[in-house]
Amino acid sequence: MGDGEAATRLENAEVGRIFREESGRSLAALIRTFGDIDVAEDAVQEAFAVALGRWPREGVPPNPGGWITTTARNHAIDRLRRESRGRELLSEVAVLTPGRDDPGEPDVGPVQDDRLRLIFTCCHPALSTQAQVALTLRLLGGLSTEQVARSFLVTEATMARRLVRAKHKIKAARIPYRVPEAHELPDRLRPVLAVVYLVYNAGLTGSAEPDLCAEAIRLARILAALMPDEPEVAGLLALLLLTESRRASRTGADGSLVVLGEQDRTRWDRGLISEGQAILRWCLRRNQPGAYQLQAAINAVHADAATVEQTDWPQIVALYDQLLGVAPTPVVALNRAIAIGELQGPAVALALVDELDLDNYHLFHATRADLLRRLGRHREATAAYQRAAAMAPTDAERAFLRRGGRASR
């Protein structure tokens, strides 16, 4: 293989990256124009093929997003003209969106961004959570079906079926392509934020490629830019940035999980931390706390402590109390109990933990194991570690739990 060939291959990867960054916006614009997801997807795919042939030779155009939209739109119109059903669709498009063919159409402001319409369609409550996540990654994130499938450990065929089914429902049931009105927004925003958070967590525990954590942060940044007045959107972005600041120190040299108290805090990314904290200060001024903002605030308190001993545990407990108020789930109660344990000792924490109905959650047993060990109840601790390890979803966590958690304390 010659050097020239390698250079071209590198260029192809670069074309793919730029294309993926820009394609969500183009796809969203085309769905609005043609009112059909499949037509838009095919057209953007064709534009990608053209880009692969042209960009490595001629260079990336000055406005790649605009280029993709125009190229894809022209392809879609050409193709539709060739098909009779397409001609009908085209005449409808002409009626519905006069003047939309102008490629130089200026941006009409953030609220009008088609990507916002697209994410609310992808995360419509009439679709299953699985379908919401798959559609968001495929359509807005520009991931291939194969990449989406790999992220969720299903075969490409299964994922393809899931996507086809979801798109069919959008079309047949006419799930609208619009940003919900202000009074619907709180309800409709919830699944959107949940999908982005789910994508991030899948990245945190899953395989490295594609980097779903980076993808989730990219989506959260888009949402925060498009909905600048929503504190929970900002809160989610802050939460992801603060969690991301610790990602590198979560994994030890042997690939096993390193828990918060044992992480090398000098490896935390200060740039991400200060960005997350600045967003949180803005949230505080808005004074409309919500679950994501509170979780971000808890992470911000951890980020402020140079050592685990210097952690402001009373502040963390106070934040968990507030979080339990807005999100009264047993998992929140478990984390609150752990924080209380840091203040009042493992016996108090264990009493709180044992009241929770979380027998099927591996971190419930991991928490019990840690508390029992600290209380010197080693036999029970060992049994709890074993139960936790048997349930742990990832190798990293299993390795950590098999080791019996922390070596010393």
Binding site: H124, A126, A172, A173, R174, I175, P176
Partner: protein
């Protein structure tokens, strides 16, 4: 405009949340107002309430002949108790009506689009 079927599903033997006479009267009134509004806004196409499944009869072709049998097509605990056919701009519009029906009668409503009915 798309046509949607809003179907009211009941589970046999599973009594609805018992309603007091007052609540039942309130429910009827709410439903009356709702149906009036469906009609005045042009959303209403057709609606009906069905007798219980024991009153159903099935006809089918068997060996080139029509055979008539007693009983519902599927023996199941869940059955269709009634329905609305409405037209709406999109699913959100249909879900809006369905939400108000379920709020009035406290029974789950399934919303399904008709195929090839787009006007």
């Amino acid at each position: 405009m798309t046509h949607y079927l809003l179907s009211v599903h009941s589970v046999e033997g599973e009594a609805r949340e018992p309603m007091t006479d007052e609540e039942r009267a309130q429910s009827h009134k709410q439903l009356g107002v709702l149906e009036q509004e469906m009609k005045s806004t042009g959303a209403w196409v057709f609606s009906g309430r069905l007798h219980d499944p024991a009153t159903a009869t099935v006809v089918r072709m068997a060996g080139g002949e029509v055979v008539t049998t007693d009983g519902p097509f599927v023996e199941s605990k869940e059955h269709l108790g009634g329905f609305y056919i409405i037209q709406a701009e999109d699913l959100d519009g249909a879900l809006g009506w369905a939400s108000r029906v379920t709020d009035a009668i406290r029974v789950p409503i399934e919303v399904r689009p008709f195929a090839g009915f787009e006007a």
